[in-house]
Symmetry: C2
Subunit: 362 residues, 2 copies
């Protein structure tokens, strides 16, 4: 089910996941004249507010999945933890874009690192950890400090511990097992950047400018564009992102997070087969934003123009920070609120883009 | 019902009219974390595809209007021909923004011209026409050629005739009566421009840059920004637009169409108390676009920043021209399709914005 002839006006895009990313994808699809159908187990999903077509059901509810597939022309998703069985089930009924292999690789840190390594893309040293003996040996090999992580379902700093010695490592092991684990070298990076890149079924690739990311409490706080990196580093990051989507025969938008080392070298930290929080700046200053770009790829359309018209800083509004809207809406600010009913601690509620009107790039 | 304290996240905006303008307003409202409820008699309304909340009913169905008012926090509209009774009925139940007086004035060309004249805003010479004798006298007074128009429900060139002599005038009179009529001097204008301006309940005003408009078959074809006019003319147009929203004590976005005379003088052709087709360029290149600006005003929020980041040409896609999407999506182009099921001749199906990436204003 991977015909790439362009879908026409009025087609229906099925989206797995009803969070803010699904919501923003649905808004972009509407701008292209498309209908959307959101599938999400949570009846309070914010994406349900931007389309009349929804399914509230579990991801393993095959009757609901079959009815969903019958109601749509193509299926995409807003999160990388779509269960493999769900992806396989749907992909036999309708085109699934991006494909199931991108999900399989990005769901498992070991599979992801193996994939990157095979494609000669630099990553931090890593090793699979099955037991304490292996952990001790690898901690010696990789060197302390290191980071012990679950191979699956980690996000926003969840499922990982920094370990400085074997005692801490043993404690982290106890906390994180029985999940499969990976030990990664701790990277003393200079900064974190990301590249959001798109590829369509015809093999066209278009990358947005690299963003420089700052985290707070393990959650992305700001993305600044342009990143304070050399032109050479920016080009290298873009080349790596392009190599990744090409190697995956990928269709859609993908986020690539990098560590920039003090000597300017790049390591890939992780990839996400979806629109990416560090690409939210694109909606304020790019001719085509990441959401439209993803929808175009999913539709089998030509990719849009990722040209950036101005410098920008995207800032996540987390928890009660959403209260800054509308009161702090001064010059140069474009807000986006996700319509979530409840603002819990650590919950991404919206973002603002601060556009540098005078100091433009180029 | 005109309290202007800001409405909070998650409020519901009721929108009368389910066409492309209502649809784009709903998309902008979603970006601000709001819900929308569309009221439209046409069950195939394109705006119904971007929210789960709709009412399909006639504008004089008071039970449906009352239920609609009960379901929303504020009411706005996408078209100036909302029946006066509908507006009054709703305005007693919930805040109606813009207010009923803006509707009353813009629905009637005579009332509009009287309002503008009273406020010392220049318009083409005009006269109410009740019978053929009056028509003959006024055609002599105003001079041929002139334009005979119905005072109400004219749009896209409908309900008007150019008359070059009394014979043509008498024929036009027969065609257009029994509607009340107005005779207007034919203006040999140099170009047509428009200013889209916003005002909120606190009296803040923000205008977008003037656009230069070209029509084809009486339908807007392109809006080009910046317009090829002097800085002085641009400032004057902005001053006039500001004077109009201030005189109306207006809340929301309003479009003002001008004729630019060969000597640079400006005449107001008409005003529209809503987002305006000639403001669709704002979504591609402004920090805040006209749709968000209207929603902010309706919510009682501070207005956004109308700064323009690049030069742009907006082109309407009419009838089968919608087929240009996605095939003509080359560099610099941002498309917007309205999701209309059927592409009839003369029907506005979408638009594209051509962004001048290199040749920026300023």
């Amino acid at each position: 089910m991977n015909d790439i002839s362009p879908l026409p006006q009025g087609s229906t895009i099925g989206i797995l996941g009803g969070g803010q990313l699904g919501r923003m994808l649905a808004l972009a699809a509407a701008r292209l004249g498309m209908k959307t159908h959101i599938f999400c187990p949570d009846p309070e999903s914010p994406a349900f507010e931007v389309t009349p077509h929804k399914t509230v059901a579990a991801y393993d509810d095959e009757a609901a999945l079959a009815a969903f597939a019958a109601a749509v022309d193509v299926v995409t998703y807003e999160f990388e933890n779509v269960p493999a069985r769900t992806a396989q089930f749907l992909s036999h009924l309708k085109p699934l874009r991006p494909g199931a292999n991108a999900l399989a690789i990005s769901q498992d840190r070991l599979a992801e690192k193996a994939f990157l390594t095979i494609n000669r893309i630099p990553v931090a040293p890593f090793a699979a950890i099955s037991d304490l003996d292996r952990l001790e040996a690898e901690l010696e090999e990789i060197g302390a400090p290191a980071v012990l992580k679950t191979t699956r379902l980690g996000y926003d700093g969840k499922g990982q511990r920094i370990v400085r010695n074997m005692e801490e490592a043993a404690h982290a092991f106890e906390v994180l097992v029985p999940h499969p684990l990976v030990l990664e070298g701790f990277i003393a990076f200079d900064k974190e950047i990301s590249v959001v890149v798109a590829r369509n079924g015809a093999g066209e690739v278009a990358a947005f400018d690299p963003a420089e990311n700052l985290h707070r409490d393990h959650i992305l706080k700001t993305s600044t564009v342009p990143a304070a990196i050399s032109k050479k580093t920016a080009e290298k990051a873009t080349r790596i992102a392009t190599a990744i989507v090409t190697a995956l025969d990928y269709v859609g938008v993908l986020g690539v997070e990098f560590f920039v080392l003090p000597d300017g070298k790049l390591l890939v930290n992780e990839i996400a087969p979806r629109v990416h929080n560090s690409g939210h700046w694109t909606e304020a200053v790019c001719i085509t934003d990441q959401f439209e770009q993803h929808i175009r790829a999913v539709l089998g359309w030509p990719l849009g123009d990722p040209t950036r018209l101005a410098d920008v800083v995207m800032e996540n509004l987390i928890g009660d920070e959403i209260g800054a809207i509308p009161h702090k809406l001064v010059t140069g600010i474009r807000p986006h609120a996700y319509g979530k009913a409840e603002s819990r601690k650590g919950r991404k509620m919206g973002h603002i883009n601060r556009v540098a009107v005078k100091k433009r790039a180029k």
